[in-house]
């Protein structure tokens, strides 16, 4: 079975500016991949190429085996843009109905009700978009992206306007989608969110992939922390295998050991290291 999203040697130039400088990336079936990077790293450009809004300068991007931007590719994906707006005069129900028609979905009212329930907007079916809060609009955006049961979901900063409860709702939703076999490319600045839900993480910097792997693969050992009667102390050079020996030595030296913890770098550490502290 072909990958949900396969990108190779992808280059995009806007005049003299190179937004993407040869990106290779794959999102497999049912996989949830997090895309990280500072502002201007090329994350949104990559997502836009995948959904056919932007044409690549060179390179190849395929969605479920079809060329990105083709009708087949667009039929297989759902997309929520970082900056999006829906017509303010439309109700949530009308918006989903419009997208059902455009997506060729035959889900009817059942699908609309289910999607609105999924994003917690079941009570706002007949509310116009202009009467919704930003968070509600973002959740409606996610429901819109799910119209027609896409195989690949491209989410560009889907939780930027959500409160903590809303973010948790989206996290739960992403886990549910993964169970249903939907592949997701999640572009977000929220590292904790990515770390919690993503199978793999790709970090972009200046249009190039600078780190990629599972959160566990990316995390590096950073020693151990041991709490004794003299307080907490970190041993940066000590690894997992050395821990029993170190604890035994400390006990032998007459110290009372209350706890020992292996230290690994967080995704935030990995990210900051990968982008060399760059913010934009």
């Amino acid at each position: 079975m072909s990958a949900a999203l396969a990108v190779s040697g992808l280059v995009k130039r806007y005049g003299a500016v190179e937004a993407l400088g040869g990106v290779d990336l794959e999102v497999r079936e049912s996989e949830l991949v997090g895309l990280l990077g500072p502002n201007g790293a090329g994350k949104s450009t990559l997502v836009k190429i995948a959904c056919g809004l932007v044409r690549p300068t060179t390179g190849r991007a395929e969605v479920c085996g079809a060329r990105a931007g083709s009708r087949e590719a667009r039929a297989a994906l759902g997309y929520l843009a970082e900056l999006f707006r829906f017509p303010g005069w439309m109700t949530a129900e009308e918006l989903l109905e419009l997208h059902q028609r455009l997506a060729g979905s035959d889900g009817g009212e059942r699908e609309r009700v289910d999607l609105l329930e999924l994003v917690g907007l079941q009570d706002a079916r007949r509310r116009p978009v202009e009467a919704m809060s930003k968070g509600m609009q973002q959740r409606l955006g996610i429901a819109q992206a799910l119209v027609g049961s896409p195989r690949l979901l491209l989410l560009d900063e889907p939780t930027s306007a959500l409160d903590p409860v809303g973010r948790r709702t989206v996290r739960t939703l992403l886990e549910e989608l993964q169970r249903r076999g939907v592949s997701v490319l999640l572009n977000s600045h929220l590292l904790s969110e990515i770390e919690l839900v993503c199978d793999r993480v790709v970090i972009l910097l200046a249009g190039r992939v600078v780190a990629a792997g599972t959160p566990t693969e990316l995390a590096r050992p950073r020693g151990v922390e041991i709490e004794t009667n003299e307080g907490k102390r970190t041993y940066p050079e000590v690894g997992r295998d050395d821990l029993p020996r170190l604890v035994a030595e400390l006990v032998r030296d007459g110290k009372s050991v209350y706890g020992a913890r292996l230290l690994t770098s967080t995704l935030e550490d990995v990210y900051v290291e990968a982008v060399s502290g760059e913010t934009s």
């Binding site: 056919g52 809004l53 999006f84 997506a103």
Partner: protein, 283 residues
């Protein structure tokens, strides 16, 4: 085909909910009321006017007034067409309204065609309604009826469709405001071309007439308008006919079948350029 009707319907519903039609209806009623008032007084005074020899005062008044109403009809139709289409691509993309639609498995060309049909579905009935309402008012007040009843109205509607197509094309490359200004300026240029033709006829200047003709055909809504003006007094001859062919707002000029075919080809051509431009545009 379903996608075309869906998007066209979306455009129509937007116009409806945004109360565009309420404003248009209100202004149209105001326009027709004023026109009726003007026609009423004009025809009441026609009997007291001593026209120059060879001029039929009633025919002149009727055709002149109705010619003005036709200009008003064209102008209002053009305003409507421009406002319905000026932000279709770049304007909607800048407001982030377009992207969620474009990523759906609906071709970009389908989207443009649908928006054109949506605008046409509003503008054509509107222009025809206004045209026939003005004709009815003129006929009832002055007992004057144009020589051709249907053709001029259809040509006016065609002129408005050309402007809608140009506005859609402009929307691919220009922001909403820039596009609106550009299309209104093109519309103005067409009127100037018509006036140049008028002056050329009065001065008997072949160069001026030729320049006006080229300009009118380069933006054929003007040529259609001139042909429509000609058609309403097609059978009027003599001095009355000569005077009427000079105005108002652009001389009456014969376009014929060639013009109508060119108008259709022009819309297709403009549409093709718009589709090609949209297909290459990053959003």
């Amino acid at each position: 085909m379903t996608a075309i009707w869906t998007i066209a319907g979306y455009g129509l519903r937007e116009a409806l909910r945004r109360k565009v039609f309420v404003v248009v209806c209100f202004l149209t009623v105001a326009f027709l009321a004023l026109y009726w008032l003007g026609a009423h007084y004009a025809f009441n005074h026609v009997g007291n006017v001593e026209p120059p020899a060879g001029v039929d005062a009633r025919t002149f008044a009727g055709a002149f007034l109705f010619g003005m109403a036709m200009f008003g009809t064209l102008f209002l139709g053009v305003v409507l067409a421009i406002f319905l289409t000026l932000g279709t691509v770049r304007g909607d993309a800048e407001r982030a309204l377009l992207q969620p639609l474009v990523v759906r498995p609906v071709g970009r060309s389908t989207l443009l065609v649908a928006r054109f049909f949506g605008a046409a579905a509003v503008c054509v009935p509107y222009v025809l309604l206004l045209y026939f309402a003005s004709m009815l008012l003129t006929g009832l007040e002055g007992s004057w009826w144009p020589d051709r009843i249907v053709t001029p109205g259809v040509e006016l509607a065609g002129g408005v469709l050309i402007v809608a197509a140009l506005s859609l094309l402009g929307s691919v490359f220009l922001s909403s405001i820039a596009n609106g200004i550009a299309i209104f300026m093109i519309f103005g240029a067409g009127l100037v071309a018509g006036l140049l033709g008028n002056i050329g006829h009065v001065l008997n200047s072949p160069g001026l007439i030729h320049a006006a003709k080229i300009a009118a055909w380069a933006i054929p809504f003007e040529a259609l308008y001139q042909d429509a003006l000609r058609a309403i007094t097609e059978k009027t001859s003599g001095l009355t006919g000569f005077l009427l062919r000079l105005g108002p707002f652009g001389g009456a000029e014969q376009g014929g079948v060639g013009l109508r075919l060119w108008a259709v080809a022009y819309i297709v051509l403009v549409g093709a350029v718009a589709v090609a431009g949209f297909a290459r545009r990053d959003l």
